[in-house]
């Protein structure tokens, strides 16, 4: 069993960390306050090859392996959870097109997604449809060489700036996935603001009013939208969230260690107080456990193992839950200072809570995991 990074993996992690430290960490608080990520940073992510890291090399991407992708999500997540959601939704669409797109769709979209010329987002949730995502109310009907989509999508991360959306709807009751360009007739969007966390994720509602798209933009086959196209995307999304939450955990630990070193009470640094030590110890243990689960998921993803789906669900559940616990402790270590904008831990806590909700709420993960446990006990 190999659970240490190779030299190549370690070098990638250092590269990602240096990028995040220089380009994301100093500005993440401002992104959060202004509720946006600058275009320049998104362009920079494209130029570095990070947006297209999972696109196969023959389509202009870096074609990196799952572990290094996870490390990228971790390092970005250490600085900005909002930016992790960009990597997540953009790569969910990349994964879908790579897996289920036809050759024309791959040739049309993958190079643009790899370079960042196009930004993709994932359109599944609706005002009345959250966890019950297999029953979207959005509909599509054929109109010659086009489909006409009608419905509303909500909570669409980076929906304010994306120009390509993977939209789920139904054709005669059959769940189906479509690629929808933002300049399509009948497509409108409106920003969502004032969120608890992920404030810079530029969420939007999408309004599809007989939105006209080419028939060639159907992905996969009718009837396989949620189960296979959505399944591919959501499994990958959970993978990204598990790793992003791990990054947030590491950020909480780093902030808490720094603060406990320098802040003095009763004549000695906080780090010398036993109850602070207890919180620091719990944070470190949570990070180790989350990391091992993320490594395991990456290994299974590399092999294409059927166990991947369950183990990714477990990693997402644990990592996001641990992120909340660790962020709560990080705020506690910081005391009143942790409740202000002067330190990043309040943002970490707000963002950590969102990790528990997105890409399948943790209650859905619990149901899946418990069912798996009963099956395996047979």
């Amino acid at each position: 069993m190999q659970i240490e990074l190779t030299d190549k993996e370690r070098a990638s992690k250092e590269e990602f960390r240096a990028f995040a430290d220089e380009n994301v960490a100093p500005y993440a608080g401002e992104f959060d306050r202004s509720e946006q990520v600058p275009d320049e940073l998104i362009r920079n992510l494209g130029e570095k090859g990070y947006l297209g890291a999972l696109v196969p090399e023959n389509f202009g991407g870096r074609g990196i392996d799952p572990l290094r992708w996870g490390l990228l999500c971790e390092e970005i997540g250490r600085c900005s959870a909002s930016l992790v959601s960009l990597l997540t939704v953009h790569s969910m669409v990349i994964q879908v097109i790579t897996r289920w797109g036809n050759e024309e769709q791959k040739a049309q979209w993958l190079p643009k997604l790899a370079s960042g010329e196009s930004i993709a987002a994932f359109g599944l949730s609706e005002p009345e449809i959250g966890s019950d995502a297999g029953h979207c109310e959005t509909t599509a009907r054929s109109d010659g060489e086009h489909y006409l989509l009608s419905g509303e999508k909500r909570w669409i991360s980076f929906g304010q700036v994306a120009d390509l959306f993977l939209i789920f709807g139904s054709i005669d009751g059959q769940s189906t996935a479509f690629l929808v360009e933002s300049d399509s007739d009948g497509f409108e969007r409106s920003p969502i603001s004032g969120l608890l966390g992920f404030r810079a994720a530029m969420l939007a509602s999408l309004h599809l009013d007989d939105c006209r798209i080419p028939a060639a933009n159907l992905v996969g086959r009718p009837g396989f939208g949620f189960s296979h196209v959505g399944g591919t995307a959501l499994d990958h999304g959970r993978f990204c969230i598990a790793w992003g939450a791990l990054g947030l955990i590491e950020a909480c630990i780093s902030a808490s260690l720094d603060y406990a070193e320098t802040r003095e009470q009763f004549g000695s640094p906080l780090k010398d107080h036993q109850l602070v030590k207890a919180m620091i110890a719990d944070m470190l243990v949570q990070s180790r456990a989350a990391r091992l689960m993320c490594y395991n998921a990456a290994s299974l993803k590399e092999r294409g193992s059927p166990s991947l789906i369950m183990e990714t669900s477990i990693a997402k559940y644990f990592s996001s839950r641990a992120a909340v616990q660790v962020a709560l402790d990080a705020v506690q270590v910081h005391g009143a200072n942790g409740c202000t904008d002067d330190y990043p831990v309040a943002r970490y806590l707000r963002d950590a809570k969102v990790f528990e909700i997105i890409e399948g709420s943790n209650q859905i993960q619990q149901i899946i995991i418990a069912r798996y446990g009963h099956r395996n006990a047979k």
Binding site: N102, R221, S227, G231, P306, I309, R371, K378
Partner: protein, 77 residues
Amino acid sequence: MEKVREFLGQFISDTNIDADLNLFESGLVTSLFAMQLLLYVEEEFGIQVTNEDLDVKNFQSLNAVTDFVMNKIAAAA
């Protein structure tokens, strides 16, 4: 077919199911099962499931999956 039946046994308590029973309409499996089955046949039999293969007829029953796998293997040979 026995390998596929064994895999299905992880999800369905009655492993003596009718080989033509529609798994999805029967309510015996969840949407997650679809992707697990797909990854299983790819890993176990070394085949690649593509968008052209996305046909309910290929996955709806034990017999259907077995036929699909056999045809893919034959086509690759």
